[in-house]
């Protein structure tokens, strides 16, 4: 078995300063809601960790999740940590292809049986196996084969976590999420379209530090990042309470940075860390740039009404059914009244 440098050695080789590294560890600790005393332990764990073996499977996806991680404006610590892990298989990033690539996957699986991580982005079609194949292997087969010896599975992005866009109504490929198929391994969902890079690496950092997966919410998401709604952490929240709302995208309210609730913001029902961690090294997040939250880290977010339809809008059908109910009501009333009149007439006659 070839020598595997520790993550610390790799980061050092890449020129990450000790100061920068510890800062990252501190941020991770706070994100994971760990006390500051845990920072050295995290640092130590990451530094001394042997490169874990990671197999990244991409199914019905758009590569946005990978882009999110790798295409930051400048190299970030989280990007580098990502680099530092042993990506034994990632068919978008790896140079190898075809049989060679598949051979690498099998080699990694054999070498690290029982300890490797499987990261998945993209949903898995269950309709026709031919909808999505890699090297002639259907997505379902590849997933089930790969997770057999895995320590844990991380579903990266909303497609892998919940089915995402391919799984949206009417779901032509019969797309399902990882957790729909993998039931005998721990599955961590890191949804988002794409997920926040910091969140992805923090989950990995946690795994490296504690050797176990974090506490999850009912949707299998790490509570540390998905425990609060965007709305509850939103800097525009006071405007919501004051009843100050942007009515259109170019009105005074929008310019003044008022609440985007009426423009369809899904912040109140969306659990994610956007409002606190933010994007692009903490620069901003969608609401801050004037756009309502789409709720991308929630299951079935494509199918929850229009993006610009306010949250409290009812989702019920046409007026035809209501008209039908009205007709039924009048009919029932008429029948009831007729019955009443009949009784009255009968009693009057008998009286």
């Amino acid at each position: 078995m070839k020598y595997r440098p520790t993550v610390g050695e790799i980061l050092q080789a890449k020129g990450v300063s000790r100061r920068g590294f510890l800062k990252y560890c501190a941020t991770t600790a706070s994100l994971l809601a760990l006390p500051p005393s845990m920072i050295p332990r995290i640092a130590n764990a990451i530094e001394s960790a042997r490169r874990p073996s990671v197999i990244w499977l991409s199914f019905q996806e758009c590569t946005g999740c990978t882009e999110s991680l790798t295409r930051s404006a400048s190299p970030t610590v989280e990007g580098l940590i990502f680099d530092a892990i042993s990506l034994d298989y990632h068919h978008t990033l790896q140079a190898a292809s075809g049989d060679q690539a598949e051979a690498a996957r099998h080699a990694a699986m054999e070498e690290n049986d029982g300890s490797y991580l499987v990261l998945v982005d993209g949903s898995i079609p269950t309709g026709n196996p031919g909808y999505s194949t890699i090297a002639g292997i259907s997505n379902v087969d590849m997933l089930m084969d790969t997770v057999k010896g895995a320590a844990a599975v991380v579903a990266i992005g909303s497609c892998a976590a919940f089915g995402g866009l391919p799984g949206a109504d009417p779901n032509p490929t019969g797309a399902v999420s990882v957790q729909d198929l993998v039931t005998d391994k721990p599955v961590v969902n890191v949804p988002g379209c794409p997920p926040i890079p910091m969140v992805m690496t923090a989950v990995l950092a946690q795994f490296l530090t504690f050797g176990q997966i974090p506490d999850l919410d009912k949707h299998g998401r790490p509570l540390a990042f998905f425990g609060n709604t965007i709305h509850d952490r939103c800097y525009r929240r006071p405007f919501y309470e004051q009843g100050k709302f942007a009515e259109t995208f170019d009105d005074e309210g929008a310019k003044a940075g008022w609440c985007l609730y009426k423009l369809g913001c899904k912040g109140p029902t969306t659990y994610n860390a956007c409002a606190t961690v933010k994007w692009n090294q903490g620069t901003s997040f969608p609401i801050e740039s004037g756009h309502p939250c789409l709720g991308c880290s929630e299951p079935k977010f494509w199918d929850k009404g229009g993006f610009y339809q306010p949250l409290s809008t009812g989702h019920f059908g046409s007026g035809a059914t209501v008209a039908g109910a009205a007709v039924a009501g009048v009919a029932l009333g008429a029948v009831a009244a007729a019955a009443g009149r009949r009784r009255k007439a009968k009693y009057t006659k008998e009286a």
């Binding site: 809008t313 989702h315 109910a325 029932l332």
Partner: protein, 217 residues
């Protein structure tokens, strides 16, 4: 389909259908019972105007009864105005109505609505305590009175839990709130909450009969 989707989709839709059907059922069931014509020589106008007059005037207590009915009247006013404000002047609700009817109107700040909501709940408890303790009300009350109170208070209480995120997560609270509204809408036409529409019939009828006599309404 998660709970929230169920609540604001099929549940609310079903409730709306029951509301419409039940309301018409009751109105038509009463209206089609028929009425004998009144041949007496009228003293005053007894038509629609008289009905509208009493629908309006009976919203206020006549001077001689003010003292005796002060407490329940004030509580009932708080209850009704509170319900009106919380239902129709809370922005997320307005957005709901706008999505449904395409009409919108200005709302009140949420904090004001929360305050009104709490006052409404307080008045509701004041009224139910009175119902449970006053000898008159104890005698004349039935299941309908208590259940109708319950289904009216439920949306108020669940609605007020949302901003404080009590007991459940936001989307679950919202779902429970909407489900409680659905329950209210389903029950409304059948029990005493039917007074939301029956009030026009009872007051209107009295207006037409007694204004026609030129008698006190």
């Amino acid at each position: 389909m998660d709970l929230l989707e169920f609540a604001r989709g099929p549940a609310l839709q079903f409730a709306a259908l029951v509301l419409v059907a039940g309301t018409l059922w009751r109105i038509v069931g009463i209206a089609f019972l028929g009425k004998k014509p009144d041949y007496s020589e009228p003293r005053g106008p007894g038509g629609l105007g008289a009905a509208l007059k009493v629908i309006w005037t009976r919203a206020f207590t006549a001077e001689p009864f003010k003292k005796a009915t002060l407490y329940p009247k004030i509580m009932a006013y708080v209850m009704h105005i509170g319900l009106f404000a919380t239902i129709f002047l809370f922005t997320p609700h307005i957005v709901f109505f706008e999505g449904w009817m395409g009409l919108d109107w200005p709302g009140l700040p949420n904090n004001v609505i929360y305050f009104i909501g709490v006052a409404t709940v307080v008045s509701g408890f004041a009224l139910i305590i009175r119902r449970a303790t006053s000898p008159v009300l104890k005698l004349i009350s039935n299941f309908d009175d208590y259940f109708s109170w319950f289904v009216t208070m439920l949306p108020l209480v669940t609605g007020l839990l949302i901003p404080v995120r009590a007991l459940f997560r936001y989307e679950d609270l919202l779902a429970i709130h909407i489900l409680s509204v659905a329950l209210l809408l389903i029950w409304l036409p059948f029990g005493k909450l039917g007074h939301t529409f029956l009030v026009f019939m009872t007051r209107g009828t009295t207006g037409m009969v007694f204004e026609r006599r030129g008698a006190k309404t």
